[in-house]
């Protein structure tokens, strides 16, 4: 409100005041109390004490406008008594008031009031100006100080930010898992002024979306159902969908969530997203975003690296599992037999640079029969036979081309265990051999028995015709003995061959069996001295005669063959602890230590090609064990070897 002394004043009159008291002159403009609000630009308010709106109202009227207030009422009106505090106001009794018109009442006062008002206004305005000036100066000083401070702070802050960024980048570079990344982020944010509960990292992995965040105080990884997870690449704040999504996964409510999708070079359908659960105040979010925005690039790079590593690790794991799942030995080798990779069935994990034959067959040179060089030259896969520790393998070597198409870089070798097949084949060969021998023996026996019978019988007849002390008798006796011996050899041969195919076990006198076996080995034994020391009593075992004879035949024959120079063979039988022990001892060079644990393995042979199948000892052991016995040996190099057959004695 503004007015000066000459302009008419606006007067608001309360309804109970009779308008007749107001003189219409140019000093006053009456305002219709029904329409106008007393606050608007009114210079004077006239109240009947009956209409007095109360002290509070008056206070507020006085504050909003610089008006004067006149209240009239009875002399004893308590309202009037309480209103002496009102500035620029006058309280007057009704009686007094009615004596004069309002104009008269106030014409004298009004100018004074106006002057007072004017003075007050000027004073106030001056005061305000002064205040403003002071404030301005203070502000200026403050601003200057602040500017200086903030410049300093800005430098400090930016330095601090940079330092933190470097720290974070280094720290992230050391992270080896995504869990690690989240843990480091959460730790780092605690060093700032921001009130952040936690960072949650979401990322697509192996066709699903995964979350890493704090759950019950620990960093945990949640793998989502297929098709779940965010798809938006917008920065969002308190997005209800995100709140719901996180609440579902973490089983608790999420209120303040900032969703920050990260930019990765290999962006898939679902973005890698950083969810920030926070208690930031309104307006702090921008500062926070400004603070962490430089983090996002190193963070993205780290996550990208770790995801790639995970995938590679996964691929490598998958590959290795597949490789190991093949139950045959597999390996990848260079052309120099150097082992690059092998599966668990090939050998134990090996040091780099190990040769395939070293780890596979414990050899110092390539396996016999290995032809990988031909594979390299021809560029075509080839199958070859190799052996390891009594096992026979069909090894197929496949060329691998990693570089130029004509250059074989490595080889994949696949080993198929054909031991059983070979074993069966070996046994079949052995059986066929024996069957053929039986057939031949039968034929020979038949062909020889007749003439031998004649020779022997005629000798006997002639002997009966000459005196027993004659030379002729002695000569005939020799003929008869020779024929007799020939007969017994044939009989043994026949029984050795004949028994085959008769599976029944029978009671065998071991001493007899040794005697008859020796007669079959005369040629082998003829170079050596044979020393036979048999138990006096009969030693019976229960077995298939031909099989047991085969065992003895093998052992004695081996002993003979072990001795290049004429030596001694001792054969002895003994009864011991309810067992029958048969020992065959030779004075040969002994069995070299390094092959001692191999001699019972099928196909193991020290004999030259064609002389031995490598089955003799393995089959012998198998036969002896079949009858509850044991076949073992004792050998010392240079001293000879003793083979010992122990079989349960059969009571007669």
């Amino acid at each position: 409100m503004s007015s000066d002394a000459s302009s008419p004043a606006l007067v608001w009159v309360s309804p109970h005041l009779e308008a007749k008291h107001l003189n219409q002159d140019d000093l006053f403009i009456l305002v219709d109390p029904e329409i106008e609000d007393p606050k608007k630009g009114i210079d004077l308010c006239l109240f009947s004490s009956k209409d007095f709106p109360g002290e509070n109202k008056v206070q507020s009227l006085l504050q909003t406008s610089q008006m004067s207030i006149l209240v009239y009422g009875g002399e004893d009106d308590p309202c009037l008594a309480s209103l002496d505090w009102m500035p620029f106001s006058k309280v007057i009794s009704e009686k007094e008031f009615k004596k004069l018109s309002i104009a008269e009442h106030f014409s004298k006062d009004l100018n004074r009031m106006k002057k007072q008002q004017l003075l007050k206004q000027t004073l106030t305005s001056n005061y305000h100006q002064l205040e403003e000036l002071t404030q301005g100066l203070e502000d200026l000083v403050d601003r200057e100080t602040e500017r200086e401070d903030s410049a300093k702070k800005e430098v400090q802050d930016s330095l601090k930010g940079l330092r933190r960024l470097v720290q974070l980048t280094t720290s992230l570079g050391e992270a080896v898992t995504l869990e690690d990344v989240v843990a480091r982020l959460n730790k780092d944010i605690r060093q700032t002024k921001f009130s952040i509960s936690q960072f949650i990292l979401g990322f697509p992995f192996r066709s699903r979306y995964e979350l890493i965040g704090l759950m019950k105080g620990r960093v945990q990884r949640i793998r989502l159902e297929e098709g779940q997870g965010p798809t938006s690449i917008r920065i969002k704040q308190n997005d209800p969908e995100d709140q719901r999504f996180l609440a579902n996964q973490f089983q608790r409510p999420f209120v303040h969530v900032l969703t920050l999708p990260l930019r990765l070079a290999s962006q898939g359908a679902q973005p890698v997203t950083l969810f920030v659960e926070h208690q930031l105040e309104v307006g702090q979010t921008d500062t926070f975003l400004e603070e962490i925005s430089p983090w996002l690039q190193p963070l993205s790079m780290t996550i990208e690296r770790l995801l790639l590593e995970s995938e590679m690790h996964e691929a490598s794991y998958l590959w290795e599992r597949t490789f190991d799942s093949v139950e045959d030995p597999l390996c990848i080798v260079t052309s120099d037999y150097e082992l690059l990779r092998s599966n668990v069935h090939f050998s134990e994990p090996q040091q780099a640079g190990t040769k395939c034959y070293e780890s596979f067959a414990n050899r110092t040179s390539p396996c016999e029969g290995c032809r990988i060089h031909e594979v390299i030259q021809a560029g075509q896969p080839q199958t070859m036979k190799v052996r390891r520790a009594g096992k026979a393998f069909e090894m197929t070597s496949y060329p691998v081309y990693l570089g130029p198409p004509s250059e074989v870089s490595t080889l994949v070798n696949h080993y198929l265990d054909v031991t059983d097949k070979e074993d069966l084949r070996g046994q079949t060969i052995q059986n066929e051999k024996m069957a053929a021998l039986g057939h031949l023996a039968g034929h020979i026996a038949h062909e020889l028995n007749n003439p031998l019978t004649g020779i022997r019988s005629l000798s006997q007849i002639l002997m009966s015709e000459v005196p027993e002390d004659s030379e002729i008798y002695s000569d005939l006796k020799e003929v008869e003995i020779a024929a007799s011996r020939s007969q017994s050899i044939i009989t043994d041969l026949l029984s050795f061959a004949d028994d085959r195919g008769k599976p029944e076990d029978e009671l065998i006198d071991v001493n007899d069996l040794i005697e008859s076996t020796l007669s079959l080995l005369k040629v082998s034994l003829h170079n050596h001295k044979v020393d036979i020391n048999l138990e006096d009593s009969q030693l019976h075992v229960r077995a298939q005669k031909s099989l047991l004879q085969q065992v003895l035949f093998n052992l004695i024959n081996n002993s003979c063959q072990a001795m290049d120079d004429p030596g001694q063979i001792q054969i002895s039988t003994k009864e011991q602890d309810g067992n029958v022990t048969i020992k065959v001892r030779d004075t040969g060079p002994g069995i070299p230590k390094k092959i001692r644990d191999q001699i019972f393995l099928p196909f193991f042979t020290t004999k030259e090609r064609g002389r031995g199948t490598g089955l003799g000892l393995s089959m012998s052991r198998e036969i002896v064990e079949r009858y509850g016995g044991k076949l073992r040996f004792d050998s010392s190099e240079g001293q000879g070897t003793t083979f010992e057959v122990v079989l349960p004695k059969e009571p007669i």
Binding site: N449, S457, I461
Partner: protein
């Protein structure tokens, strides 16, 4: 007693002949089955040594075709002991089986004498 030897092996025939004659027996020889059957019916022997495996008629063949009225005891002899034993021999109608080679020719003659004497 009269002894007939049917064997394709000359040395066997001769052995049994010599030993038999030495023991005072009358010995007839046949080198195959059909010759043997002819002598068998003509000479009516007391004992016949019959080889199993012969070209032409085998021992069992001869046994099938012999004169059913003959009272002769039959000793089956074979070099192939794997195939024959006493049981088998008796199935074929023989009385005794002796495997070749003989350990003692006189013992063989003795066995034949025992057989006839029973």
């Amino acid at each position: 007693m009269k002894v007939l030897v049917i064997d394709d092996e000359a040395v066997i025939r001769r052995s049994i002949q010599r030993a038999g004659e030495k023991k005072g027996h009358e010995v007839y020889l046949a080198e195959n089955g059909s010759e043997g059957l002819a002598i068998w019916s003509k000479a009516n022997p007391d004992v016949v040594f019959l080889d199993v495996l012969m070209p032409g008629l085998t021992g069992p063949d001869v046994l099938k075709q012999r004169d059913p009225n003959s009272k002769a005891k039959v000793v089956l002899i074979s070099a192939y002991t794997g195939e024959y034993n006493l049981e088998r021999a008796q199935e074929h109608g023989a009385d005794l089986f002796i495997g070749k080679p003989f350990a003692d020719i006189f013992a063989v003659i003795q066995q034949a004498e025992d057989l006839v004497g029973k």
